[in-house]
Amino acid sequence: MYAIDMRNITKRFPGVLANDQVNLQVEEKQIHCLLGENGCGKSTLMNILFGLHQPDGGELYIRERKTRISNPNDAYQLGIGMVHQHFMLVNQMTVLENIILGNECGSFLLDRKSSRQKVLALVTEFGFKLNLDDRVADLSVGMKQRVEIVKTLYRGADIIILDEPTAVLTPQEVSELFKILKQLQKEGRTIIFITHKLNETMELSNQVTVLRKGQKVATVNTKDTTPEELASLMVGRSVEHVVSERKQTDGEVILKIEELMVNSKAVHPVNLALRAGEILGIAGVEGNGQQELEELLVGTMAVKNGKLFLSGQDITRLPVAKRKKLGIGYIPADRHKNAMISSFSVAENYLLGFEHDACYNDRGFVKRKQLKADAHRLIEEFTVKAAGIDHPIGTLSGGNQQKVILGREVSHNPVLVIAAQPIRGLDIGAIEYVHKTLLRLKAEGKAILLISAELSEIMNLSDRIAVFYEGEISAQFPNGTYNKEEIGLFMAGKKAGGEQA
């Protein structure tokens, strides 16, 4: 019997068809992976199952009974629970309070004692190590996730949906999670696991459904398929990789990172050197210090231990503006938060960060004519599709926004370009454009620091690779030394030289 049977589910949001006649059948007592790239519709589909969204078309059958799920309460009634990617926990309340929230014992009065007994029973049954009176704010990420899981069990869920649960976990926490999920399966529960990672899918699931651009592509048994087949189902066509010609450069050292302590997890400092005409790829699972590295280099986070040198000059104590002036182009990982002002026009976004430069600054006033000319030139040069330079940048697509940012950051003669997750949320065409631009910059002799969670991007473009794990470099080598699996191991904590972290 199908635990879940979603037929022809369609869901529209303004401007995008998130789910297009999707069919999903999940058998009972299975671990079923929902696989796809960012933005393919997997989260939307599961939010519909959990009652957070209503479908525009299609039917839902739970255990072969047709039904409607209007809100999370309905979902829980049907035995469906969900653990979200961004935790839905009340930080100021205790573990116990978070677990029972919405389904507390008692009719009007809060019956803490009975609630506590019920929860304790669950926690001991599964061997979770949780202290019910801890404040959630004080817990580690892995433990917070466990609270979320216990919460679904407390509500009686036997169909549990997890949305990208491993994105923020350490490798050790990931294997613990997998153990828990396999045990839950043994106890008769059905698990739906949303991910974009092939290795997890292969390791964990019994069946896989692949989504692409809002449509279902295929459902296969995991043991009958390979990662390569899944990858091509996910992407849809053989992707034309923009691959760089790797060579060792002996250009001048542009960026030198000396004895830098990146975050509180790091025990050993980071040492890196980046030369002109070179692309250094920073690989690693997100959350291993890359964000901190980005901010320390740009200057939005203060350096506590270590030194930074740009073209030989000590920039460790310099503020953001001064570093920029020395020639750093910065493409932030979170462009909406850090790179652009949505309500401002395209032209004004071109000005952002360069308003005090002599080219735009005439004794304190903005040289509008110059700005307009440059803006027109740049949107043409970078093929930005926009209604005009005076329209708010928020109306542009993600790819076009990124092109604006790219154009801005590279057109003032930087010596160093820091590109963090530059292709996140972009379509294939925009991705190719960004990569071609990075290679062009390399040919022009710029030093490029490429920070990315996509290993294939790193491997296609980099001359050298440094792998980050828990705020330290677990391996640093010329590209080509190791293959993908070996690099994956470095990402999981193995140190070059053989020791396990």
Binding site: F50, L52, N71, P72, N73, Y76, M82, H84, M88, L89, V90, N91, Q92, M93, E97, N98, L101, G102, N103, E104, G106, F108, L109, L110, K151
Partner: protein
Amino acid sequence: MDMMFQFVAMTLKLSIPLVLGAMCGTIAERGGIILLGVEGLMLIGAFSGVLGSYLTGNAYMGLLLSMAAGAVLGLLYAIFCLKLRAHQSVVGVGVNMFASGLTAVLLKVFWQREGMTDPVVSVKNVSVPGLKDIPVLRVLFHDQSPYLYLTFLIVLGVWFVFYRTKAGLRYRAIGEQPFAAQTSGINVNRYRYVAMAAAGMIAGIGGSFLSLSQNNLFVVDMVAGRGFMGLAANIFGGWSPLGSLGAGMIFAVAQSARFYLPDIHIPTQFVQMLPYALTLFILLFVGKKAKGPEALGQLVS
């Protein structure tokens, strides 16, 4: 000793509007709604109280009308914030202005003049037989307004609901992380509407104390900043029922001290400044604790 008795008695009297104003703020803000409009809610309550007494000849009908009016205005406030998604601080300013203008207009309609109403039947102070003779504690039971007991009941009631009922747990979660509450199946906005109606009602009671018990008529803008002082008390007390009670008392001490400090002649303005200065001090220099509920001002879809 007699002076001490008078001092405590006066403090209790003066604390009523402050505590009720603070409770109004506590209830609203623990659910995540920024409430700057306490002043206006209390003013509507003050006027409605007098109006009700005038129309029926019974002061307690005035109290009821003030509760109803406060609840209605509280609901409207919530509609603007939740349904129409207005900027909550601005709604507060707007509600204060609205109350000020509307009460003045209606005053002219019913009493054909501007500025203040005629006297109406008011709520008389009581002395509880038996209890009024207990040493020390008699200050609570001798010549006090029934509003005092109502205030204590309200504080206890809100405390009980917040910390001993399911609804209270859920409501407090809403103020900290409304999305967590939502995914737990809680109808966030329904709780907020109910809470705002309750908050408005309590503010209405606080306002009607001023017009029906402390005085026996309505004067234009008679709340005179006590709503904002109640807001300050809520912050000073850390957004909790007992904290609001304590802070309201402390601020009232500052106000009544003026009458009982014999030789020290402190200008009245400085005494009035004290609550605001204290609150400002807490906000600026005690930092962490004075942040309030995490999700203040956040809306859910």
